[in-house]
């Protein structure tokens, strides 16, 4: 069955409304984009949407109880709930440095979970 979806392109702040016609993973037509990036975006949103996942990890003995983290690259949108479950179980120790790899290759995506700030040890 041929389906039609209207997406808001987020590849740049203009936010064009892009209409895409597709059947399964086959793209039939893309309209409404003002540049090629828009059609690439729409294609990916239908075939395999991905997102960077930012969240937090529990830290022991840190100046704060949590450290913010992100996936080092975008991962499939559909596995984000599973990734959240795994990351929620992690616990690390201070000090933490921005860029530290907290978990390698989460769910075989090739993306690492990395810290996004420095966090010193809690001063007594």
């Amino acid at each position: 069955m041929i389906e039609t979806k209207t997406l808001t392109c987020v590849a740049c702040p203009k936010g064009c409304e892009v209409t895409i016609e597709y059947e399964g993973n086959e793209i039939i037509e893309i309209k409404g984009n003002t540049c090629p990036q828009g059609s690439a975006y729409a294609r990916e949103e239908i075939v395999a949407p991905t997102r960077i996942l930012p969240t937090t990890v529990i830290v022991k003995a840190g100046a704060l109880p949590l450290v913010p983290v992100k996936t080092s690259k975008a991962i499939p949108l559909e596995i984000i709930p599973d990734a959240m479950e795994i990351i929620a179980k992690l616990e690390i120790e201070a000090p933490v440095k921005m860029g530290d790899v907290i978990l390698k290759n989460i769910l075989e995506t090739g993306a690492d979970v990395v810290a996004t700030r420095n966090l010193p040890v809690l001063k007594a």
Binding site: L7, T8, V10, P13, K14, G15, C16, T34, P49, R51, I52, P54, T55, T56, I58, A63, L64, P65, L66, P68, K70, L77, I80, P81, M84, M98, T116, R117, N118
Partner: protein, 426 residues
Amino acid sequence: MHKLEKKLVIIGGGPAGLAAAKTAFDKGITDILILERDFELGGILPQCIHNGFGLHHFKEELTGPEYAQRFINDVAERAIEIKLNTMVLDVKENKKVYAVNKTEGFFEIQAAAVILAMGCRERTAGAIGIPGTRPAGVITAGTAQRYTNIEGYLPGKEVVILGSGDIGLIMARRLKLEGANVKAVCELLPYTGGLTRNVVQCLEDYDIPLLLNHTVTGIKGNGRLKAVEISEVDKNLKPIPDTAKIIKADTLLLSVGLIPENELSKKANVVLDQRTGGPIVNEGRETNIPGIFACGNVLHVHDLVDWVTEEAEIAASWAVKYIKKDFLKETAAIKVKAGQNVSYVIPQKIELQADDRKKIPLYMRVSQPLTAVNINLFADGEKLYSFSEPFAKPGEMISIPLAQKTLAQHENLQEISVEIVEKEGE
């Protein structure tokens, strides 16, 4: 009382204060002091853990903490003096700054120039007058962001969000991913106040309903919030009585706007603009008080931190010129006017002499969403030039350049004005 002297005092260690310090240092003023009331630098960014920062400034996508960390590192490398856990209580027209902290008590700093970078605060339930009691569980979206991302506990399990500003949208996704049931985001206006990418990636990705033209008309619960009543609104934004619906919720997040934090500015007799809530400034971001500058959210609420950085660089460059006495004003300022469909333009006036600049960026917001627009620039009523954009949205600040050449070509210019209009026939 303990007394200090500093060339440049920066109030607030958020992205605006940090970028201002870095720029001033690199331009030759190294006797700088940053005063920050929090226990660490970074302002609001450490709690904005999501990505989407830095696309303009660093040409890569960073999270809030990463964006802050880069500037914190830059400031640390430059041996710029910082006092944390230090609250500024007063600023005077003569650039005396009064602050307090635990180790030094109450002290005075005489500055040659001051940069105001205190950021903004959130509108609260009190400020918007929702009927009903005030049980626990009614909090601002920013407070919820702090609880969830910094302090490590969830504000609630069943959530309704009022207001579709960026912080509300971001928190809808964050709480959903942390396992809460986010039942709806209600927006009074017929369009969202947030960035398009946030509507897509925070609401559409997770099927969170966005109810436009809806507002909260009642709050129920004693002690803890039990439910909220929402209603549709008519064209005049008045609730339509028979549309009221009750939604069970233990948490109501308010994302109903930010207000520049200008209590200190007022003490220094800085004149504020009714529309922005921040100081009236010239193109160097200097207020009506010579040598007192402002940048970032204290000046006007920014949607992208990248513009905060650019604005801080402008303010710091001119503060440096002011301190070095390499600073001349024209006898008469050129007024910058917000014309049709423009809610405000920063700067509000142009009055500084500068031979080395090519252009002056004009920051503005459109007053309602428009498509296929021309942004027209006029000098004393004469059309200068026009930029065309496919869209203009109130949630997204627009920056357009005013060429220095143009200013040079028009003698005795009184007024520059900008309008944003839809192209005819489209």
